[in-house]
Amino acid sequence: MQIVGHTTQQEVYAASRQRPFRINELLLIEDKVHNYPLGEVVETQSFNRYIPLVTEHSDLVDRRVRENLAQLGYDIEADTIHLARIRILAELVSPVSVGIAVRVPAFKEIEDFLIPRDPDTGLVLGVIRGTEELTSGLPANLTNVALLYQKDKGVLPQRGIPYIMDHWTWPEYPHIGIFGGSGSGKSFALRVLLEEVMWQQLPALVLDPHFELSFTEAFPDLPPPYRGDFARRSTVLMAGRDVGILFEELNGADLLALLQAAGEVTENMNNAIQTLHHRRDSFTSFSNRLRDLTQGLEEEQDLKRRLREDAGGDPWEKREIERILALVAKYKDRVGHVSTLRAISRRLNRLHMERVFTSGIEPIQEAILNRRLVVVQGPIWFLQVLGAYVIRKFYRERRQYQDAEQTGEEAPKFPPFLVATDEAHNFAPRSPEIPAPARSILRTIAQEGRKYGVFLLLASQRPALLEDTITAQLNTKLIFRTIRSSDLDVIREETDLGPEEIRRLPYLGSGNAFVSSASVGRTIAVRIRVAKTVSPHSRHPFLELREDFIPPEEKLRKALLQCLPLGDFNFDVHLGALQQKLRRQISIEEITHCLEGMVIDGVIEKEEMLLGVEYRQRKD
């Protein structure tokens, strides 16, 4: 292999007769002047000068002639030339000389370049593509730390140098984005990353709208040393059941955000909410106020008349009417029409029905304080509100603690933490028209979270829809297969992926990604390792149909087959046992119908006997 053609200080071409180049492989350029720079293959080509493209002027040389020439000793394949475009991974001051040799480096020569830290103290996410040839030269501590997976072959040994993400650089280069379409391996990568986060015991809050991020089930067929006990390091909480928002802790803005999640909120409704909601209101006090005021506005004249009639002498009723009328007097001019209040009530009731207000967020806080990974699952609208609330609260507490540390004051301890979510564009949409309670806090963290050790890990299949300040602050981006041109545009702008890589994005295999990282300063092609856990509902829906939804007729057939021979003479003998076995009422008609079906399908035989019909096993 040697450098050919034109060279620049950033890019060279290399050619080889013997060995095809591999995309993304690292090669060492034996240029003494430039201190042996490394290069990465970004484009490969092979061609044969003597099997040119067919054009109108040149017909393809027929196989027959090639085979005949081969018999005379000529090997036309030997005239194949392999070409590679190589991007130099160093800043050179002058171009590499043409003619210089290029070779595959030994692991030792590139170790410092590719291994930022020991796998025990970093996040092992996969292997670096193009380094497969170096597998055998790896030291023990880097071998089989990132097993791979291929759909038709199952779990595979590690091939290549492990890709280790150095999370110790996060204070300088914070926040991670994972982008890719469905089936690209994005969710898988999120799982792998969270496993590593757990392994390093980084406290993390995960918002999981897909109900898939639990870590209790081990990935099938993993060799034992590779497994890990993630159940112990994670907590899964259900929004509305295990965690919720205490109404008493809400301020007007929080409440507005919540109600927005339950339905559209108009300007009038907003005014009414801000007017009616009091600090430390409980759900009951607030909803009662709303109810009474609605009633008062609707029946004001009626109530006034009742009051004039002294409420029929009922002192309790009189007090009630007075109270309601007082409310009306106080708020009438400020809350608008009664329909506004009704709309607010409807939204509030919906939240109540979803059990938003039944519990607090203590379980989340406890998990974070214990350096666990806490997954909150729930419908996305609920998570938006709950997430916004929790993140804001935790971020405030973390800030207070750290500020207090600085000034020497006392504040409750709160650890650095990570916020992770899939479908991040729903939590922080780019379009300001879409209400998103969590957007502002996520943006705040994106901009200044690093100071307080609060980091974001955002996955999305639509980077184009994610709030752009946040996108710009994601210092490390894992880019999986992406097809939409608007998303490709964002990737082109927000990463250092070159045109070759952008071109490859629509065709990336599942589980392959480009990692564009400000801390590394270049794009690395990575294949994500096999996860150590699986999503609980990763069973194929049709497999589920086959296993869990057997039609009743099928069950009956199975049971009947074990009772053969059957006929009018012994139906009553078996009926009881059959009903017990299938746990339902079965009629003789149903049994006969089922047996006839089996005769038609050729499963059993039927014979007319003296005493009636007999169904029996087929003889062959």
Binding site: V61, L72, G73
Partner: protein, 338 residues
């Protein structure tokens, strides 16, 4: 857009009309074939070579392809530089690993000037008057032929081939470099090497002359190319009867190895004419059906030996001082910008 010159178009139409009359008046294909079959030679249509028989036919020896190339650069005589390169390559290795020989001819160099003078005086001895320029052109052709024969001789010694394919007919070698050609001929015959000159452009007239007049009232053919176009079936060849030797020392036959209706010619040494029938299927087997009728190996050799303009320019740019180059060689027309 390209505008066709109306005047020229009209003139060309006249040419076409006269040619059309001519073609309409050809004797029928069958009649010609019958006549040729009776008087001149035999049409052969050998069965295609069976797969995997080539190696046995070659007896484990390689095939050799020989070709040469000359590239001239300059504006006016005598300031023209001729670069020569010849290549003989065996099929046992890549074409580039064959035997190359190069030469250079520049009329202003003393020894080269002498060669021209010798050529002029030799012609004078034969009663021919040659200008130095015409003599130089002859020297150039001669040098190329010599170079090609020399690589062929060396390659036959080194590779022990079973056959040698030359790009072009034998007349040129015999005429321009008789003594070297004789050496080659003796060597190859002694070593039982089959030699073939593959002629892409048939430029002879003998057959046409022979046929003309035999079909009264019909158009007479101007050249063999015209006569033979479309006359042979694909995979067919025409053997010329022993008595009717057109070229004195060579055995020539015509063949249509591919889809193109035009024919190619093969020159053989007279001594090997008995082996021709056996050898031609092998030539067919090595010739692409869709191509020009040239065995593929010769195409590869031709491609490797050719001195391209870009290569020539690079050579001159690196080998000659710029001042010298501009003063003597660079044609003004290279400065054209339109």
């Amino acid at each position: 857009m390209l505008v066709v010159d109306k005047g020229l178009q009209k003139l060309l139409k006249n040419v076409n009309l006269s040619l059309r009359d001519r073609t309409l008046n050809y004797p029928s294909r069958e009649a010609i074939r019958q006549y040729l079959g009776k008087k001149v030679g035999i049409f052969h249509k050998p069965a295609p070579l069976k797969a995997n028989t080539l190696e046995a036919l070659a007896g484990g020896r390689p095939l050799l392809g020989v070709d040469g190339s000359v590239h001239s650069y300059g504006a006016t005589f005598p300031h023209i530089i001729h670069c020569f390169r010849a290549l003989a390559a065996a099929t046992t290795s890549a074409v580039e690993n064959g035997i190359f020989q190069v030469d250079l001819f520049y009329p202003e160099m003393a020894p080269h000037r002498r060669e021209i003078e010798e050529m002029v005086s030799r012609a004078a001895a034969d009663g021919e008057v040659l200008t130095p320029e015409a003599a130089a052109a002859r020297v150039v052709r001669q040098k190329l032929a010599v170079l090609e024969i020399e690589v062929a001789i060396e390659a036959v010694r080194r590779y022990q081939p079973f056959a040698v394919l030359f790009d072009g007919g034998f007349l040129r070698y015999g005429g321009l470099a008789p003594s070297q050609w004789q050496t080659y001929r003796e060597l190859s015959l002694a070593r039982d090497v089959m030699s073939v000159g593959v002629i892409e452009e048939v430029g002879t007239f003998d057959l046409a002359r022979y046929v003309s007049g035999s079909f009264p009232g019909a158009t007479s053919f101007g050249c063999d190319r015209e006569l033979l176009f479309g006359l042979l079936d694909r995979g067919e060849w025409l053997a010329i009867r022993e008595g009717l030797k057109f070229k004195k020392t060579y055995y020539t036959c015509f063949a249509r190895p591919g889809r193109h209706p035009g024919v190619v010619a093969y020159d053989f040494f007279q001594e090997q004419s008995r082996q021709v029938a056996k050898f031609i299927p092998l030539l067919f087997a090595l010739t692409p059906l869709g191509g020009r009728g040239i065995p593929h190996w010769l195409d590869l050799v031709d491609n490797a030996v050719r001195i391209r303009r870009s290569e020539m320019e690079l050579l001159l740019a690196t080998g000659l001082d710029k001042g010298v180059r501009e003063r003597l060689f660079v044609p003004k027309r290279e400065g054209r910008i339109l």
